[in-house]
Amino acid sequence: MSEEKAVSSQIRWGYAVNNWKPGFMGFARREEHERAFKVTSACGFEAIELNAGSGRWDPLGRPENIDINYGSAKGFLRQLNDWGIESIASTFYDPGQMSFEDLHHGLLPTRRDDHALIQRTAAIHAQFLGEVGATCLVVRPFPSYWKEGGLNAERMQIAAECWNRVAESSAALKIQTVLHVDALSALRSVAELETFLGLTSHHVGLALDTAELAIAGFDTLDLYRRFHDRVRHFHFKNALAIDSLQEFKLANAERALMQAGGARGVPRWFGELEHPDGVVNFPALMAALRERNYSGWVIVESDKGPPPAAAAVMSNGWYVQHVLSRI
């Protein structure tokens, strides 16, 4: 067994749990968790990123579900340690997802009436993250474009108020709040991002997701160079296609575009880091991270990938060990 370890002194590598497709009727059993996290560990990743969810069939989706299934937050962490995972890096929270617990079908950060519940839910996750020594609460800052159209000054201001409050209370728990702009987001331009960052406090950081941004037409390398002092988290995954038809505007684009593939029937939007059809230049981005002395987590993702789920983790593990860690 090689002694090589996919870790450098400043950049730490984790893997997102969404690879295993948690949610209704999937990835619910403890033995599935055990095998998934052993695979993750065997491939050289030291941490995981959780995905905020809902309902008893998503046992890792909410801290109270983790308590029921693993006894407590620390009990879960101890179990992860036994399976070879050293830490929990972060949780991804999208307020637009429905909640069985809070009886809603999605909240909007751009609507003040929703703020109290968003903040309460974020606080639940931040509390958990603080207990396990994690770093980041990764949030979806805006709803999908199709829901309300593009951003305007008012909606930006309202969303900034929401995330400033979340970030302030999370910071008290030593958890950073980082904004994760995705392919369907109402935020569509660098100028909007710059404006929005200007409206948010220094507690609010950025999480750059290479594939989501590429699909939306952003250049992640350029964004990192421009906003590196606010970038505190990365999601590394490849994009296999660009939304060149601007189908983020489609109603229910989460399903119509990202799952069903849109007018072109794109079979897969996301791919492994070294996928031959991938458009993301990871060596160049990695060189930029080194150049700017980035210190923090890089979470590799392979959500929506084909089965078997382990295969993507193995391919990405090789690429991190043999290519990215050597840059």
């Binding site: 067994m1 052993k38 065997a42 491939c43 593990g317 090789w318």
Partner: protein, 318 residues
């Protein structure tokens, strides 16, 4: 190298039965250079440094990479050092190729020699064989039949040694030499210089033989291992069931499992302690034979085995 800078006692190889699901059904990694690339990187990612494969893959490998030397280079660029072993795939047939039938020995010898002469360049160290035919073809298993097997593998072992390759005998649970008594006689009557024991942990457990005790008894003949697990001992003579015991036994749809499952019957820690005690140094193969039966898949089983090596076995002996 270990953290202390010394060479490790053990290195880990992966015995390849690999298939992954595709829209066109199960797909071999030898279908394209791109699929081969993905496979090699995936096993390297979880710590394997060599592969073992069947000798019928030789033409495919040659075609994919242009030459066997080219294949080895391809492997090494991705962190895999060599094709460590070739598993000699012969459908034994009493009419022309059966180790217990002396009249077929020349044919067996010539075919083995052909494999040796056509596999240079990969870095092969082991030629793995099932030393007797299917149990129902060999039974009744007599001393004379075991002696015939011992003779042909001694003869072939001497020939492969001239190519720098060890002939290693791997006792499937449905093989004609499977019980402790049969195995002891076989190694007593075969040439210790040329016939080596390849310890397949699951096969012996299924056959009711303790692989740890067997390794201890034959440690000076041991040429390598296939580490795999099983959840079942054959208690209803599936081993002699026609036409096939391995995938058609009505009692057991899946005989073989990766290391580290709760139901596993092989005592791998005990075997590692024995290997340490007898100072075994060299390669250890990990095999997932038919891991895709039921809902399983090769990548996940292989990564789980990689985890078990790293977190359990290496802490005992590395």
């Amino acid at each position: 190298m270990t953290l202390s800078g010394t060479a490790p006692n053990l290195r880990w190889a992966y015995m390849d039965h690999w298939r992954v699901e595709s829209p066109q059904g199960p797909l071999s990694q030898y279908t394209s250079l791109q699929n081969f690339d993905v496979f090699v990187k995936q096993i390297a990612a979880v710590g394997f440094e060599a592969i073992e494969t069947f000798d019928f893959h030789l033409p495919l490998i040659r075609e994919l990479c242009g030459s066997l030397e080219g294949c080895r280079e391809f492997l090494q660029e991705r962190g895999v050092e060599r094709v460590l072993s070739l598993f000699h795939a012969v459908m034994y047939d009493e009419r022309k190729s059966a180790p217990h039938v002396r009249e077929t020995h020349d044919q067996l010898f010539n075919y083995a020699k052909y494999i040796m002469s056509s596999s240079a360049g990969l870095g092969v160290e082991n030629f793995i064989v099932m030393p007797a035919g299917l149990y129902y073809d060999v039974e009744p298993v007599t001393d004379e039949k075991i002696k015939a097997c011992a003779d042909i593998w001694s003869r072939i072992g001497k020939m492969t040694a001239d190519f720098g390759v060890k002939t290693c005998c791997h006792h499937e649970f449905f093989c004609g030499i499977r019980s402790l008594d049969e195995i002891r006689k076989f190694y007593e009557w075969s040439d210790p210089k040329y016939v080596h024991f390849y310890c397949d942990t699951a096969q012996h457990v299924i056959a009711g033989v303790d692989p740890v005790a067997l390794y201890i008894e034959l440690h000076d003949r041991c040429g390598g291992f296939h580490f795999k697990d099983t959840h079942h001992v054959d208690r209803s003579e599936d081993y002699r069931r026609r036409p096939d015991a391995e995938i058609m036994a009505p009692t057991t749809p899946r005989w073989f499992w990766e290391m580290g499952t709760a139901e596993g019957l092989v005592d791998f820690p005990a075997l590692m302690r024995a290997m340490k005690q007898y100072n075994y140094r060299g390669w250890v193969g990990v095999e997932h034979d038919k891991a895709d039966v039921g809902a399983g898949n090769y990548p996940e089983s292989t990564a789980i085995a990689g985890w078990y090596i790293k977190n359990v076995l290496r802490r005992i002996y590395a």
